[in-house]
């Protein structure tokens, strides 16, 4: 055990925690604001700390506090108290654990040691995801059963049937991807996608395996119990489904667990089909080779982008009364923006002037890749939210029809074709 090893492991776990748990309030905010935008209204934007609203992000923290301090009520009819308590924990823990294997940067080399940049470095990444993502169904089934309530039971039966039928297609879609990449290791898969196809197209999974990508994304929606597959909690039919009887932080765990599961699905979609942490046309090696150029580009681009962002803030967040608390927010944000610019430019300028060692380049490339992964993840999560507020809910028989009669045969055909191409070419 040496110091660098410990530091890298701790940093990896913290980053994985930030990506899973830390993303939940941001996703709740994205969900509400995008829903507002789609329905031609504003969404939550008034909650503030000393005038700072960050476009409504503070609302998520207020909501979290509300859930913590609410009364934890349990109906007298609930006899299975232990199972009732266990169910939200299972949903949350399985979503959280399935996140731990997502690679957010290429293998990092410091000195002579090489580290795998995952919360849990294992080379069976995709199997780990399948194992723990599949366990979340226990939380839903047990929660609905222990609630001792017809609506809850109906909700969990629906969810069980849905997840069991869509898991088959999901696994089969993954198999055709595995045949293409020839590995179960997620880092290997992402590195495979850093190549170029026909010399100009990034060899992302979505290009190599378009059918598997579509099937996987559809089944990921079903696994995460998101609209159009949210019959497990169809409000108009069965109240809240399996979490009808839950209140306070027990409901909070279901709620956060849903977002963490959605984010984990997005992370896997990004890793399998959208190049993971790779910037398009810029693999790890070319990033390292051209690092000086990249620093110069950042130094030039950052002030320009910040200028336009600051002007956008000043245009949209100026209120007629001078002592309006919201004017203070604009001032704070502009100051923060200037500070970030100054710090980044000074640091990068220093590195440009004094030169940056190979360890420094490796760490900086890892940072760029983490940022890339975060942006791709946010975009994929946005797609999840976008679909939820665009499509209506499936009827139960339509859902089963889609799962068994369309997705399953398509994914089997896809495996067949992929195997033919891989063996033949």
């Amino acid at each position: 055990m040496n110091t660098i090893l410990v530091i890298v492991i701790v940093v990896n776990i913290i980053i994985a925690l930030l990506f899973s748990l830390g993303a939940a309030p941001i996703l709740v905010w994205v969900e509400r604001r995008v829903a507002g935008f789609i329905q031609d209204r504003l969404g939550p934007n008034r909650c503030n700390i000393a005038g700072i609203r960050l476009g409504g992000l503070i609302q998520s923290f207020a909501d979290m506090l509300k859930l913590v301090f609410k009364e934890d009520f349990r109906a007298g009819a609930i006899k299975e108290k232990f199972v009732f308590m266990l169910a939200p924990v299972i949903v949350f823990a399985s979503a959280f654990l399935s996140y731990m294997v997502m690679p957010f940067a290429d293998n990092l080399t410091i000195g002579k040691q090489t580290f795998v940049m995952q919360g849990l470095p294992t080379n069976l990444g995709i199997l780990w995801f399948l194992a723990f993502a599949g366990l979340s169904i226990y939380g839903i089934i047990l929660g609905g059963w222990a609630s001792n309530n017809k609506y809850s039971l109906l909700g969990s039966i629906r969810a069980g049937a849905q997840v069991i039928s869509y898991e088959a297609s999901m696994t089969l879609a993954i198999i055709s991807v595995l045949i293409t990449y020839g590995s179960v290791n997620l880092v290997d898969m992402v590195n495979f996608q850093s190549k170029l196809l026909f010399g100009f197209l990034p060899a992302w999974g979505v290009v190599m395996q378009p059918l598997a990508a579509i099937i996987f994304i559809v089944t990921a929606f079903a696994e995460a119990n998101r609209t159009p597959f949210d019959i497990a909690e169809g409000e108009s039919e069965i109240v809240g489904g399996y979490h009808t009887e839950y209140s306070a932080m027990k409901f909070g765990l279901f709620f956060v667990g849903e977002y963490v599961a959605m984010s984990a699905s997005s992370a896997l979609i990004v890793t399998l089909f959208f190049g993971g942490y790779n910037l398009p046309w810029l693999g790890t090696q070319s990033l390292k080779d051209n690092f000086t150029l990249i620093m110069e580009v950042i130094i030039v681009l950052l002030p320009i982008l910040s200028f336009f962002f600051g002007r956008w803030i000043l245009k949209n967040n100026i209120w007629p009364k001078a002592d309006d608390i919201r004017n203070r927010e604009s001032r704070w944000l502009i100051r923060a923006l200037v500070m970030i610019n100054v710090v980044v430019i000074v640091v990068l300028g220093y590195f440009l002037y004094s030169g940056i060692g190979s360890n420094g380049v490796n760490i900086a490339v890892a940072l760029i890749q983490i940022a890339t992964f975060a942006i791709k993840l946010l975009l994929m999560n946005f797609v999840f939210v976008w679909v939820r507020w665009t499509l209506p809910r499936f009827r139960y028989d339509q859902l089963q029809y889609l799962g068994w009669r369309i997705l399953l045969p398509l994914s089997i055909a896809n495996i067949f074709i992929t195997a033919l191409v891989v063996v033949g070419v």
Binding site: L127, L130, A131, G134, I141, L142, W145, G160, V163
Partner: protein, 167 residues
């Protein structure tokens, strides 16, 4: 350290198995079976069989028991319908009858080659690559035979389910 983990996991596995046959509520016994399945997955992980560990969780915990719980919930079995008189007596009698079988099993266990000596196995022997090479090079015919057997079972269950519908 490893011995302690092994003992704890084995205790959980045994407790789950006993719970599964003694608990009267079907849901509870399915759940205690789940405890056994996880404990055995942990034992696999302890033996460096990481692939088997994942498969145990994906197939048994993720699919089979989830399906079992789903069916139990779907059928809505009433607890008092399952009450059998003298079930503990029956269990005792069966346990005594099966004692010779236990003895044989124990003998077979003692006669196993390399007992207590696993030092020859490599650290990564349970990894995907090693297992796949072994399975598809050394044991290809048995593997395919088992696949066909599973396929037969699959088709058979569909045929049986259809027959009931016609009656």
């Amino acid at each position: 350290m490893i011995d302690t983990i092994f003992l704890i996991l084995s205790l959980f596995a045994l407790a789950g198995a006993i719970g599964m046959i003694t608990l009267s509520n079907t849901m509870h016994s399915a759940l205690s079976f789940l405890v056994t399945v996880f404990a055995i997955a942990g034992l696999y992980a302890l033996l460096n069989a990481s692939f088997l560990f994942m498969v145990q969780i994906i197939i048994y915990a993720g699919a089979i028991i989830a399906l079992l719980l789903f069916i139990v919930m779907f059928l809505n079995i009433k607890e008092d319908k399952l009450k059998e008189p003298n079930r503990y007596n029956i269990m005792l009698v069966v346990a005594i009858i099966l004692a010779p079988v236990d003895y044989l099993l124990f003998q077979a266990f003692l006669k196993m080659p390399h007992i207590g000596d696993f030092s020859t196995t490599l650290d990564n022997f349970g990894d995907v690559k090693m297992l796949g090479n072994e399975l598809f090079k050394g044991w290809l015919v048995p593997f395919e035979a088992i696949s066909v057997l599973l396929l037969v079972a699959l088709i058979g269950s569909i045929v049986l389910a259809r027959k009931k519908e016609r009656e």
